[in-house]
Amino acid sequence: MLKEKKFKHKHLLGLQYLSKEDIEIILDTAKPFKNLFTRSIKKVPTLRGRSVVLLFYEPSTRTRTSFELAAKRLSADTVNISVQTSSVQKGESLIDTAKTLEAMKADFIVIRHSHAGAPHILSQNVSSSIINAGDGFHEHPTQGLLDIFTIKEKKGRIKDLKVVILGDILHSRVARSNLWGLTKLGAKVVLCGPPTLIPYGIDKIFPEVEIEYNLDKAIKNADVINILRVQFERQLEHLFPSVREYSLLYGMNKERLKIARNDVLILHPGPMNRGIEITTDVADSLNSVINQQVTNGVAVRMAVLYLLSLNS
């Protein structure tokens, strides 16, 4: 019998902490889950009796719904905690909230928090499996995984693809998870955005990654362009002169699409600011896989929940 590589993690804190093989196992496992979506019964009994708590300290629709659907399609029970109406408002600490959930025997805690490292703290303090659904500017591993899954599904490989990550890299946990995952799988990553939005020192962490401030140069012969949202809630006013200028210099439009390869894939983690970082004709073009990303997100999250359950 051929020896299989096994997934050995109990928590998913970031793609930084996974090996190339771990990422490949998740991608391979997501495929059979995706096949389920064509059936009339999309549910499997895999995680019957387990419970998944969704603890979101920041707003989210797609990630939270996606995790909830993923858990439900695995027959797990889900509980949504909306922080605005929870004891957090009475001043309960993050660890105390998590310990309460642990005491209720939550098997998984899916957490989104504005502070980088919040999921790590939980993983050291409670026995539940912790899944990072976005922590500060640090990582959003399931988004990174679903982006990579979508690219691999369409292109058949990751290795040697030219992938441009475009826009507000500085505030983007999606960009960081993509960076870790894509570089581990051998893609050629190019970061592009206004100099103020490219984090200082990123070339030290990822020496193989190229930084290009000129969008037209960056997307030449690109196989994939992953367009990030301009995060207005992060007080960007002083980081670039105007939205109009941003859109002119770094907005993806139909004209620019011609510079990339004909079969370039357009990704966007959503929610989109149509007309700012991406024009509507690009978002709805045949090159766009933005809706497929959402579908794949559920399959990838099912794979993550399933694989973590083997070690919890």
Binding site: P32, V44, S312
Partner: protein
């Protein structure tokens, strides 16, 4: 480690199984379908399928499934194989389905496969064919077509090394864990 079956034994068993299977289903081949269980079950199912298609000159619907998501030991057993794809594209409703696996043992794999098929549709009937029945059932599950019965103890392991996966001549080995 002992060699339980060699290539010529396996070929003969599959030929005999095919004969028995055809005897039952030949009257109603239009309703017949074969589903193999990953991994070795798929290889054996394909061999049986090829023989039946050659003998009858008919195309038989074929699918394969992976039972991982239907296992009853997730979180209990640590050595679970990575899931493979399930692909059953034909309509199982009202069909006479033959499930094929390599070895039947506790009966839990077949239990999971039955659950999975019943979620896709309602076959007219479901039967099971296996190359080897090693006894020690833990569930009331029965294989109608059995190639070879072998008495085993729970600490023993039977392993099929089929040419489709190993690129070497078929053999079945048995050893104690």
């Amino acid at each position: 480690m002992k060699i339980l079956l060699k290539k010529k034994d396996i070929d003969k068993i599959i030929s005999n199984l095919t004969k028995k299977i055809l005897k039952k289903y030949k009257k109603n081949l239009n309703k017949f379908g074969i589903i193999g269980i990953h991994t070795n079950g798929v290889f054996i199912a394909k061999r049986i399928l090829n023989k039946i298609e050659k003998l009858t000159n008919k195309k038989i619907p074929f699918g394969y499934l992976d039972i991982t998501f239907y296992r009853d030991d997730i979180g209990y057993k640590t050595n679970i194989k990575n899931p493979k794809e399930t692909n059953i594209t034909f309509d199982v409703n009202n069909k006479e389905i033959l499930l094929v696996d390599d070895v039947i043992y506790t009966g839990r794999t077949i239990r999971a496969a039955i659950e999975q098929i019943l979620e896709i549709g309602r076959p007219k009937s479901l039967s099971v064919a296996v190359l080897i029945d090693r006894g020690n059932r833990e569930l009331p599950i029965y294989a109608e077509f059995v190639g070879k019965k072998v008495k085993t103890k729970p600490n023993q392991q039977i392993e099929l090394l089929l040419q489709e996966e190993t690129s070497q001549e078929d053999k079945v080995i048995i050893y104690s864990k």
